[in-house]
Amino acid sequence: MKDIVRGWRHIPQRYNLIGSKCSNCGEVNFPKRVICPECRRKGKLEDIKLSGKGKIHTYSVIHTPSDDFKILSPYIVAIIELEEGAKITSQIVDCGEDDVEIGDEVEMVFRKIKAEGEEGVISYGYKFKLSK
């Protein structure tokens, strides 16, 4: 039950990349912050819907995943620098390890993240694919 509630709370960020932007210094954070790490108490944070477009900052190929992700193996996990400046860790889908290079442009897609067994809740959210 705890997992269901936690997943439900994360729906805005997982479905629609809702992060935060400090209107004092302009820094964008994802996941969203409660306090601006730069401006501290002077900062004023607002929700921002990130565009879902960015570049691969770095990546790794996962060959030994946990059981939950074995069906995807081998798969690529990248740190992506979004257009707005925030960095985000995500799987890169629909491509092989030879197709990916640092600096490649990527865009957000909506995918199944995991299912809690055959009878549990299914979590959905962002992943990224190479832009055409």
């Binding site: 729906i11 059981d67 069906i71 199944k112 992943k127």
Partner: protein, 351 residues
């Protein structure tokens, strides 16, 4: 009168060829390809299901329409492969397109025609002034039992239609349906694969309903085949589609654009909506389109549609059907079996 304000599509990028499936079961691939008029079909990735396909198609429809998603007052997702037996796919779509919370939403099921049923419901809500925009999605990750004839065609994909009154790219001039209780294809609760009546799915089921639905529409609109520039039909395989089109008096020029099953298979609830999208991708202002869906069980929804001037500008705002048809990579039967959850795995949680 209600019309189409935007449309969006999604087809998974994986494909499997008829030859690859035939090899496993000792079938003759040339005979199957010729008989069904199918060369390959789309396969959903292991992290794709009806919800993810519906969300991608709906986001594309909203991008194309250029409307504020908060103005969507109703979302219906038609599918026979909803991820949950109880818990709507439509709420996942509603939150993912940022249309929540002031809207109504529900899942629909009518074999392969639940997507067009959603379009009709949205038309009613829009025409009666209950909602400004309604979003109707037809999407499936269809299941065919291993070695069954359906395995050669059952594929994945979907399309979403945003229905409204203002700034339409195409107007729906009229719609009508033809429905009877005909158990030609069904899946009982909790069973992984559907059953079908073999040849019974043809004349008394598909052809009776598609042809009757189309003829009812001709009568209602005072039209005939030659009045339309394009025609789309449900396409469980290429053979049924072409035969239905010819029986109604349509020429290859009229029916060829909407026929996608040879290259992506039967996307079930997505099939007629995707065929219509392929036509809207290339249609000229003023073109008239006839679209007739079919859902086993059984019924057909027929639509008469006229294309407006704004199609030319708006169709460039989201991916087109042929872009996604061409964006593909092939998998072999082993990977297909893994992606489709046909392997029994020890203690793992993926379906």
């Amino acid at each position: 009168m209600a019309g189409i304000v935007g449309y969006g599509i999604y087809i998974p990028s994986y494909r499997i060829k008829v030859e690859e499936i035939a090899k496993i079961w000792g079938d003759n691939p040339a005979a199957i390809s010729r008989g069904l008029v199918v060369q390959e079909k789309s396969v959903p990735g292991p992290d794709e299901d009806t919800a993810t396909i519906s969300v991608e198609a709906s986001r594309n429809a909203i991008s194309r329409a250029g409307i504020d998603p908060k103005k969507i007052g109703a979302i219906y997702v038609g599918s026979e492969s909803h991820p949950y037996a109880v818990k709507p796919t439509a709420t996942i779509v509603a939150d993912a397109v940022d249309a929540t919370p002031n809207l109504t939403a529900a899942d629909l099921e009518f074999a392969c025609k639940a997507g067009t049923a959603g379009m009709q419901i949205c038309m009613g809500l829009v025409d009666s002034g209950q909602v400004e925009y309604g979003l109707a999605v037809g999407a499936d990750t269809a299941q065919g039992a291993p070695s069954d004839a359906l395995e050669y065609t059952a594929s994945a994909g979907g399309a979403a239609y945003l229905i409204g009154k203002e700034d339409t790219i195409a107007d729906i001039e009229g719609t009508c349906s033809y429905t009877t209780d005909t158990p030609d294809f069904y899946r009982r609760e909790g069973k992984p694969y559907p059953k079908h009546g073999g040849r019974f799915t043809g004349e008394p089921a598909y052809f009776k309903h598609v042809l009757s639905g189309a003829k009812s529409l001709f009568e209602k609109m005072g039209t005939e085949a030659s009045d339309y520039d394009h025609a789309i039909f449900h396409q469980p395989n290429g053979k049924f589609y072409i035969r239905a089109a010819r029986k109604l008096g349509f020429t290859e020029e009229q029916y060829k654009t909407g026929l996608l099953t040879p290259v992506i298979g039967n996307t079930y609830s997505g099939a007629t909506p995707l065929g219509l999208a392929a036509v809207l991708d290339i249609a000229q202002p003023g073109d008239r389109i006839m679209a007739v869906s079919y859902g086993s069980g059984a019924g057909s929804d027929a639509f008469s549609i006229t294309v407006n001037d704004s199609i030319e500008e708006k169709r460039e705002l989201a991916p087109k059907v042929q872009d996604m048809v061409a964006d593909k990579h092939y998998v072999d039967y082993a990977v297909y079996a893994k992606f489709k959850g046909k392997l029994r795995m020890a203690g793992l949680t993926e379906d």
